[in-house]
Amino acid sequence: MKKKLCLLLAIMLLIALPLSACGGGEVEEPAEGEEPAEGEENEEPVVLRVGIIQEADSTSPLIATMTAADRMFNLMYDDLIEYDDNYKPVGGLAEDWSVSDDGLVWTFNLKEGIKWFDGEDFNADDVVWTYNTMINGEFPQSPQMEGVVETVKVDEYTVEVHTEAPKADMEAIRTNILPEHIYGEKTEDELHTFSEDNPVGTGAFELVEWEQGQFLRFKANPNYFKGAPNIDEIVYVLFANTDTLFQALQNGEVDAVAELSYSQVEQAEGLDGIEVIQPDGMNFTELGFNCWEAPESKGNPLMLDHRIRVAIDYALDKQQIVDIALNGYGKPGTSLIPPAVGDWHLEVDEDYGYNPEKAIEILEDAGYTDADGDGIREAEDGSKLDFRFAVITSYGEAYVKAAGIIQKNLQDIGINVTINTMDGGAQSELIYEQDFDTDMYLWGWGAELDPSMKLSVMTTEQVGKRSDCFWSNEEYDQLFEKQINQVDREERIETVHKMQQIILEEAPYSILYYRNIVEAYRTDKFEGWTRVPEGSGSAVTQVNKSTILNIRPK
């Protein structure tokens, strides 16, 4: 009996060991990793290790929707136009470009001599295929192609892009140019499910190994057209929790982290050999309101009165929210486009800000008084200012803490809110599938360098689609159509500012804060971390390739 048990245990052990060897997928037959031959010395490859928390979803730009995937594509692919360190457009795959006098035809002259990873030549066919696929199909990049009619090959290294009206954000298009010789034959259905294990791109690094849930490994492309990188490999190591990630940074197992959690920042700043930077956040988090005017809306009709929303905006102590929900790592919110984006952001007057007296004044003037003395104001018809507040708890603590402060702030001006906690999927369903069955909610957006995408969220056309507040304003819609065609930057800035002013006056959102994403990197083995934009931007995760091309061993 005992012998049988022992035998069973021994068998399990024997099975388990080779199983754990199979686990983790294929290990490449090491052509390069072999023991060096007698007498030969193989140089150790220079490997930059970056710790990340979020893994990408797909290697195909036509499929991936997570921002974590953008990191990958920045390494593997290029665009026609890219950003320099001051966010000015410079040529990527395009040598130069020009636009016709009527603004409807853009001509791009492509750089010659660029090769894909597999040796094929890059040329106009690739650009034409990539752009037309996104114009004619439904892909994550298709909204960027709004207003573009088609892309035409003029010759081997020249393309024309035709638009129906002058397109102000043409230079901001970032789609990643894909190889026509690999994707060209596929039908649209196939494109929605096809992804390469080792994608062929034109970029600085190639993806050679992706162990899901563990790491992504990139090797440098020595033939990169902007010059070979100064390191051999980049490895993104996936961590399941921020504590071991921080620890790995401290003992040198990773050279940089994409994001520190707020509780670690102070400790990190006190460490020698670690540099902590706090780029301005290209994002905003809002308290959103149910502005849906349709009869089927399940929202409280009082929320449709913009005076209540504006009063709420003035009643919120946003600095306190930043201090408590973000441990101080952020800026109180004002207008829709974050300050980090640059001139597009609307600077507000000095008298905008936390002002509960003004909030009360607005409510009193609008006729909302507390007639029965229970602390909650009523409208003239008796209905109470009592609202439901959906709060997502699965994104972390910030929303929950902010919600608590918001509830208290509103209580002080006579508005009662009931908090309903849920996860992101449930809130999505509540708003889009259940006739917007809530009155207020918290959500956030990442911001792009061109304001069109964020501005479009508030248009009538996006109600039920990209819009989560379902607000509709004719003047705003008209201004949106205007700015999309204003090629003159100064004029466009003015229009964009007017649009943000409307949002402040109607308050479909109350922008709570722009949160900082704190990055950290070691200074012992590598140098060349470049902040984009200069001086105030991020170095680890950025919109161009400055760091990955500048980074070099010390």
Partner: protein, 323 residues
């Protein structure tokens, strides 16, 4: 043990499996939260794109049609395509499953060994100091949450002493020249997670082993054996222990099924690329195909584990007759 009994048991297992598969299907379709709306919102996408995805996966078809398709796919071991990764679920689950299995198997071996040892010592010397110590230790370990234990171990061995790895299954991004080097790397990374997960279950095993053995030691035939003059050690190990193992087999079988999906705490602390973490992320993203696939695997594991336990009873306890 005869063939009729075996086939009857097998048949019951299959019915259980079928019911689980059906529940699996409906469970994910009544959950709140449209997965495609979430994907679309995450990336500023258009409503048309959301429709496109919905059609691609056949999600706007009526339930009965989806159900039949689901069953047909299962027969050919096709768990469908993940919403998030847009790759076959089997591919994604396969690697993660291997990682979880190696962790769970070895942790179980550790727990069974340690639990049986401690429980036996406790029961054999009941009331004495060593019993109190052993039981106390077991209770202490039993009440420790796995993640706390994991964090403590990491801060001791990975941080303070720096002798064991911080995270993952292998050192990220290096080439392993031979399979043997790879196995060594994985084994090194397995040490702390196995100790964490193993200790988390040891407590329960110890207490059950002790209770069960105490029960057996009060039986008449044990008194007879003592009267016959057998040595104490022989009585405990050769006569009492085999009979006391029965409840343990039950618990081990049940535990094994839960371990496959439930090691998420350990997996999160050690960034172990297992199924627990995958399921949690899939849940947040409403990635139904992965969830269906993972739940199915977990269910199969539980059903198989119980099936094996049933068979083992026959060998362990000759009193049980099967007809």
């Amino acid at each position: 043990m005869n063939l009729t009994y075996l086939s009857k048991k097998l048949f019951h297992s299959l019915i259980t499996l079928f019911i689980v598969i059906t529940i699996n299907f409906f469970l994910f379709r009544i959950m709140p939260g449209d997965p495609f709306a979430m994907i679309a919102k995450a990336a500023n996408l258009s409503a048309e794109y959301k429709e496109e995805l919905s059609t691609l996966y056949g999600y706007n078809q009526p339930f009965p049609i989806q159900y039949v398709k689901y069953l047909k796919q299962l027969v050919s071991l096709d768990f469908g395509m993940s919403f998030k990764y847009r790759k076959p679920v089997m591919e994604i689950l396969g690697n993660r499953l291997m990682a979880t299995l190696s962790l769970a198997f070895i942790a179980q071996i550790l727990a069974i060994g340690l639990g049986t040892l401690l429980g036996t010592i406790s029961a054999a010397f009941r009331g004495k100091k060593i019993d109190v110590a052993s039981l106390g230790l077991a209770l202490f370990i039993y009440s420790i949450p796995a993640f706390w234990l994991g964090i403590v171990l990491v801060s001791l061995f990975s941080v303070k002493f720096g002798s064991l790895p911080l995270n993952g299954m292998v050192v990220a991004g290096i080439d392993h020249a031979t399979t043997w080097i790879y196995i060594k790397d994985v084994a090194r990374h397995l040490i702390l997670p196995v100790i964490t997960l193993g200790l988390a279950i040891t407590g329960g095993y110890t207490i059950i082993m002790r209770g069960s053995l105490l029960d057996v030691l009060t039986e008449d035939y044990i008194v007879t054996a003592r009267a016959k003059g057998y040595k104490r050690k022989d009585i405990v190990i050769k006569h009492a222990l085999p009979n006391a193992m029965l409840p343990m087999v039950t618990v081990i079988a049940i535990n094994f099924g839960f371990m496959i999906g439930g090691a998420i705490q350990t997996e999160t602390v050690f960034s172990w690329p297992g199924i627990g973490r995958l399921v949690y992320e899939a849940l947040m993203a409403r990635d139904y195909p992965i969830l269906q696939g993972a739940f199915l695997i977990i269910s199969i594991t539980v059903i198989v584990a119980n099936f094996i336990a049933d068979i083992l009873y026959g060998y362990l306890d000759p009193r049980i007759k099967y007809d």
